[in-house]
């Protein structure tokens, strides 16, 4: 009798994402074709293979559609006030240096109201991972212009098109001192997963910008179709240039998108610098806390 191949029900694995989500909060609030959920898949798959102890991973979000991520993850998580995810994450990290602290928030939250926190956390090389979903507007509040809105794009507050210079976020992060800087889109699921895994393993301020469709408030207003059209645009107009000079990766309205890992370097984190400094200054009189010693001798 020839070998007959068939499948056994019991072998079908459960949806890998479910144990990482608070399923009692599903369905989520995101619109059809919104890219935020796609990035969450990548984050979860990166976390699964990271080897991190999930009891020592904390996630912090600010306010916005992206800000919902912390509340949906089955991790210790905190949904802060608007713009304050990074200072909250900084406090968590300093109080408990053993934690892997991840900030997951929107372009508006992290670079408009929270922009000051962003630049100083990068400058200090605070040991946190920042994942920024760039949908180029304030999604949750109705599609207002953001520091990330491309020149020429229309937002609800710029009905005749935006004329303000746009932040080039990888350049901003690098100039402020981030040690890991990458950009991907929601279309680059495999690259993005690998990149998140690298960022999670990195000591210091790691930053990933992810372009994601907001069909409801960005694409529609700009006559760019729906979420799928935007994803196809990412597929057709992205160029992978690892190591690209971040000065050259600014985004233009519907222009080509340079993606890749741009920066991966070493420099002392805030806590390392602090310990070194005080050891030098005070010698044996300086006694780091138990938690701190655990981290430095790991």
């Amino acid at each position: 009798m020839p070998e007959e191949l068939y499948e056994i029900e019991a072998n079908i694995p459960a949806n890998p994402i479910e144990e990482y989500l608070r399923m009692d909060r599903m369905p989520h609030i995101w619109c059809p074709g919104c890219g935020i959920g796609t990035t969450v898949n990548c984050f979860v798959r990166a976390l699964q293979t990271s080897g991190l102890d999930l009891d020592k991973v904390a996630m912090v979000s600010g306010i916005g559609c992206t800000g919902r991520v912390a509340g949906y993850m089955n991790l210790d998580s905190f949904h802060t006030t608007h713009g304050r995810a990074i200072p909250f994450a900084t406090g968590l990290k300093l109080a408990n240096p053993e934690l892997k602290v991840v900030v997951y928030s929107g372009d508006g939250d992290l670079t408009a109201i929270g922009g000051n926190h962003f630049i100083h956390a990068a400058r200090r090389n605070m040991d946190i991972t920042v994942i920024l979903i760039n949908n180029m507007i304030y999604g949750m509040t109705g599609g207002q212009v953001a520091p990330t809105t491309p020149v020429g794009a229309t937002a609800s507050t710029t009905p005749h098109g935006n004329f303000e210079e746009t932040f080039n976020l990888p350049f901003l992060a690098e100039s402020c001192g981030a040690v890991y800087v990458a950009r991907w889109t929601a279309h680059h699921v495999r690259h993005l997963t690998k990149s998140i895994k690298e960022a999670l393993a990195k000591k210091g301020f790691s930053f990933i910008e992810i372009l994601a469709p907001c069909p409801t408030l960005y694409s529609r207003r700009n006559k760019l179709g729906d979420g799928l059209d935007q994803m196809e645009f990412y597929r057709d107009h992205s160029q992978i240039k690892n190591g690209a000079d971040t000065k050259t990766v600014a985004l233009e309205f519907q222009g080509d998108i340079v993606v890749g890992k741009f920066v991966d370097k070493e420099r002392p984190t805030y806590l390392q610098a602090m310990n070194q400094h005080y050891q030098k200054k005070f010698g044996d009189r300086y006694v780091p806390s138990e938690e701190m010693r655990k981290v430095f001798h790991a």
Partner: protein, 87 residues
């Protein structure tokens, strides 16, 4: 005919699980499935969205790209573990 069937059986490495009620019909899974084995059904789910169906069963590789792109956690792919009938 039998030969074709035998070949296709060997080719099918993977499959998908679809939670149609979670789907919002965005079409990401259909568009980005590398071997293009999914289609949106003409039927609707209870929220009025067309949901994906696996139309080329024999060609799914179980790569889980559909699971990674789906913003609504409504589909995922897996590699089938197979067994001989005798076993």
């Amino acid at each position: 005919m039998a030969e074709v069937a035998e070949q296709t059986k060997k080719a099918a490495k993977g499959s998908v699980v679809i939670s149609a009620e979670r789907c919002k019909g965005c079409g990401f899974c259909v568009e980005f499935c590398p071997p293009e084995v999914l289609e949106l059904a003409s039927e609707y789910n209870s929220k009025g969205y067309h949901t994906p169906i696996l139309v080329k069963r024999d060609q799914c590789t179980g790569c889980d790209i559909c699971g990674m792109v789906c913003p609504d956690f409504a589909i995922y792919g897996y590699i089938m573990k197979k067994k001989t009938k005798e076993a």
